[in-house]
Symmetry: C2
Subunit: 259 residues, 2 copies
């Protein structure tokens, strides 16, 4: 049984003891029923991880003695942003959970032409918090020390790479993040293997992957992305379930670019 | 809206009209509420597909006029068998659904040392039927004309490649199917990218992929597979959810070998 993993604020070099935030303290004390002396793993959500030992649990705050910093699971070589058309509640939770497990650095929920989720659902102030909780839980489970950033829902046309395609930085191909848009095979000349591995396109430092909602992209969205320099890619001849596409495209890219 | 897809027995060249099997007839008449003249897509589960038009629906059997044979979604270049340690009910349904969508040719449910599913669950005569229904439903949804074969549950030690490693056919490397066993990174020298794409291992005609249950493989099982010639592969540094591993490994292989 691996040591429980706890999300904590950054631990400084002089910190010898950590008082757990309320939610984590409750989890450690009541759910995991940890005892004094139990070993735990603490990570800051930004890529650092420490081994600690519970030094106080019961009535009052839970404290953990910091033993030493440890090497966390390696992050992918590419900082990958997943921008995805909104899916229904549980499907979106699956996307956030699995994209975290598969190493996405950032998740951008998009309102697109064919999004079928009612706006009261994505305009609620609680939905972003829920996705962040899902991402934290997934990071704990999969052993990742980074929790992907999840930004507030944005309209497709306002998403930065499209909203400002003429910025100098976007025009410089050495600095521009490549944009890969997942589309149906009939639209796409290239499968991920040909794009990335077959043709040996150099691995970028960062990239943006666009995944459509259940109903796919509108023709205008495909055109807009193409004008902003997006490469159209496809993921084989079968119709994939919308909430599985992020897992498939991230896996395809890591296979091509290295895990 | 794509035409509904219906699973039918093989349609011969002289067949002009098909009477739908009971289950499909019910689905077409009661669930899809099809009317005479509606176009449907019929596939035989073995890779052939036909376009038809409903010619009779209502009281009595549902019949479809066969219009013409059509080219189904392309099958993968590699006939891939997914042999997987049993997971709990819903997780196993997810595996069957997603492995179908990702082009597996055959699914072998394995009883392994660390399988946590009670034997009354996998010994029930209905479980295999349920998995077959899940595979059929997934084939309909993803547009595949092949329904993967799902064989009865088998013990790891009795699975053919291990039970008979000394057969002449197994000793001949030109005929032997490569076996890839998914293990934790600490056991595996090679990620799928290095194994398949990076080192340019020739794409086989058929292959077997072994995926462990929730609790992973026992040391003996890893040894047994290795003795039978299995290559150990890993899928990156994070711990993947057991029911997601088939999707990830199939995607990695198609990225390496071509979709």
């Amino acid at each position: 049984m691996a040591a429980p993993r706890i999300l904590v604020p950054a631990i400084g070099p002089a910190d010898r003891i950590v008082t757990l935030p309320d939610g984590e303290a409750h989890h450690v004390a009541r759910v995991l029923r940890a005892a004094v002396g139990d070993e735990v793993s603490m990570f800051d959500g930004r890529g650092r991880e420490w081994i600690g030992r519970v030094s106080s649990v019961g009535s009052g705050p839970v404290t953990v003695d910091v033993l030493h910093e440890t090497t966390p699971a390696a992050e992918p070589h590419v900082r990958l942003t997943l921008a995805i058309g909104l899916l229904k509640g549980e499907q979106m939770d699956t996307v956030v959970r699995d994209a975290t497990m598969l190493g996405a650095s950032k998740i951008v929920p998009l309102v697109t032409a064919h999004v079928a989720v009612p706006s009261r659902a994505w305009k609620s102030t609680t939905v972003l918090e829920r996705w962040r909780r899902v991402a934290i839980a997934s990071a704990k489970q999969c052993g990742r020390a980074v929790v992907p950033e999840i930004v507030p829902v944005v309209r497709f046309a306002d998403f930065a790479p499209f909203a400002a395609p003429d910025q100098p930085v976007a025009a410089d191909s050495r600095l521009r993040e490549p944009i890969l848009m997942c589309v149906e095979p009939r639209l796409a000349a290239r499968a991920v293997d040909k794009t990335a591995a077959g043709e040996k396109i150099a691995r970028p430092v960062a990239a943006i992957v666009l995944v459509g909602p259940e109903g796919g992209w509108s023709a205008e969205e495909v055109e807009q992305a193409r004008s902003a320099g997006a490469d159209l890619i496809h993921l084989g001849p079968r119709t994939l379930r919308a909430e599985t596409v992020p897992t498939v495209v991230l896996t395809a890219l890591w296979t091509a670019w290295g895990w």
